[in-house]
Amino acid sequence: MSHSSIVEKAADATARATPVSVARRVRGLSDRAIAWLFIAPAITLLLAINIFPLLWAVYLSFTNYRANRPNAPVQGVGLGNYQRVLNDPDIWLAMQTTAHFVFWTIVLQTVIGFTLAYLIDRKFRGHAFWTTIILIPMMLSPAVVGNFWRFLYEPQIGLFAYAVSLISGIPTSEIQMLGNVTLAPWAIIIVDTWMWTPYVMLICLAGLRSIPDYIYEAAEVDRASPWRQFWSITVPMALPFIMLAVLFRGIENFKMFDMVTLLTGGGPGSVTEVASITLKRAAFESWATGRASAFAIILFVAVFGLANIYVKALNKVKQR
């Protein structure tokens, strides 16, 4: 007993006398071992659940495999699936639908979100409380809340149609938000904007708050008008934040699936069929696993490529 404690004391004394880096190596695991021991589990999980399936999908994309016929012989088809996907007019239509959706949601959310952030930054009384209230929609499940919007959009009994007809005088039976070919894409854009404007607002608010007061003070000394201050100080300095918000929203909405599935399921016809829904139909309804995999890979490369270009642009803006 006492013997071991003497050894311990000796070890401690030695450890204290040796430089820290040596002491670390003497006692227990080396830093390098700990670093890998700590990082490896997370990386392993990602390799198993994300990367391995992705590689599998790459392999499948070159075959005619069908998941509903697991025992059928699998044949390589070379680039056939990619050729078919890229020549499929339906897929190009879905990409256009997605682009339309991404474009308008980003425009609306950025304009409304930035305006709100600017107003909140006036620091009126109770602004912190109302900011929290505004943030609520973005935390909720897009699927569960999107599903309820179906009820709000009902032409006869829905609150949305009722409110619109009250304001505009159009009879409620004509406000078929989900059944009308022109209105359905906007029905989805409205729900997405309702949900995610707070997200853009919150990031813009951080941008506005990052601008130091002395810049405005200096501008005031130089007698710059409020309009001039807004365009040459506020906007450029908040720009990296706005771009970050656009990046995140762009990626998220490019992947959009749940809200559209529950609101319209891609209909009426296929006017709201965004890329993820086409992909889901190919993979889990037509069971054309090989072709769906090819489409999935193309989508992934597209998001990844766009995000990379965008991040580079973002870094340039930041450096200015």
């Binding site: 006692r27 700590f38 997370a42 009126f124 505004i134 009994i157 829905g158 999935a296």
Partner: protein
């Protein structure tokens, strides 16, 4: 005008501009709350009230939506219902008024429990793995650290359906289809990227000197991690955990494609609640209300950390 403004402070907005800004923001907040208020109001309406035209704002509250949410019912003849003993509880009574009797519990409760198990299970794992990895990235020179961190983030960019195709096949081979374990592993993988990025930010903020002092006092690296770093990182770990929990709780695409019965969570279940002759909106609203309440609480708890969470730690206040 500008002279009057700049008399006290140039950066402090004038009183009238504050008032206008406040009015617009409050108006916006109230309008965006309407759908949520409507969900709650619909949940306490009777089915006829819920589908009346024009939509009813004043009505007699009813528990029928909640009763229908938790039960399945069968239609019976009035004679049969009259022959039954007196109703037990409010739900029994409400159901019999519609010429129906309660046949048994609905699937809502088991689906809700699935949501709880899967959300908490995956959150625990993701935060555990994420804390270790974040500490590793924060404190040690890991070769290719930037590439690894970008790789971790990039796994988040994939469309869920694209990931679901091979996962569906893999889980079918491994017998993980429609199991809670399968869903926990999948959500852990998705959340671990968020956890690593967020926690690395939080741990970066803890001064290294604390651990170094502890190690000079005889702590090993692991002891210093456990007894010095972890207690300092509690707030960050809690915030990260809530973000992971919210993701797993809200997730729909994977759940809808990879679960069908046993392991189905609440989000794919709630839209399928139907009554006689279509969607039973009060029951759907009741399910939605119960499902949203935990998130409301968490949002309020998290309000100071929200910005960090939603930007993967890219923006801090």
């Amino acid at each position: 005008m500008s002279a009057a403004n700049s008399a006290h402070s140039v950066v402090e907005p004038s009183l009238s501009s504050k008032r206008i800004a406040g009015t617009i923001v409050v108006l916006y907040a109230l309008i965006t709350l309407i759908p949520l208020v409507w969900i709650f109001l619909t949940s306490i309406k009777s089915p006829p009230d819920s589908i009346s035209y024009p939509p009813k704002i004043v009505f007699t509250p009813s528990l029928e939506g909640y009763c229908n949410l938790f039960t399945t019912r069968t239609r019976q003849t009035p004679d049969y219902i009259a022959s039954l003993p007196a109703p037990v509880g409010a739900c029994d009574e409400v159901t019999r008024k519609r010429n129906m009797v309660i046949a048994g519990p609905s699937n809502f409760l088991p689906r809700f429990v699935n949501s709880l198990v899967i959300a908490f299970g995956s959150t625990f794992l993701a935060v555990f793995l994420g804390t270790l990895a974040a500490y590793g990235f924060s404190r040690f020179k890991v070769p290719l650290a930037d590439d690894l961190l970008f790789f971790i983030l990039s796994t988040r960019m994939m469309p869920p359906i694209a990931v679901a195709i091979p996962i569906y096949l893999m889980y079918r081979e491994l017998g993980l289809s429609d199991t809670a374990l399968g869903m926990i592993l999948l959500y852990t993988a998705v959340n671990v990227s968020l956890a690593v990025w967020l926690l690395k930010g939080f741990i970066d903020e803890i001064p290294r000197e604390y651990e170094e002092a502890a190690m000079i006092d005889g702590y090993t690296r692991l002891q210093a991690f456990r007894k010095v770093v972890l207690p300092q990182a509690t707030t960050g770990i809690a915030a990260t955990a809530i973000f992971c929990l919210i993701f797993a709780w809200n997730e729909y695409a994977f759940a809808a494609l990879l679960t069908s019965g046993e392991a189905q969570t609440a989000p794919p279940f709630i839209p399928t609640i139907i009554g006689e002759g279509g969607q039973d909106w009060p029951a759907v609203a009741a399910g939605t209300t119960i499902f949203l309440i935990p998130i409301l609480v968490f949002t309020i708890l998290l309000r100071k950390q929200l910005l960090r969470g939603i930007t993967f730690g890219a923006v801090r206040k």
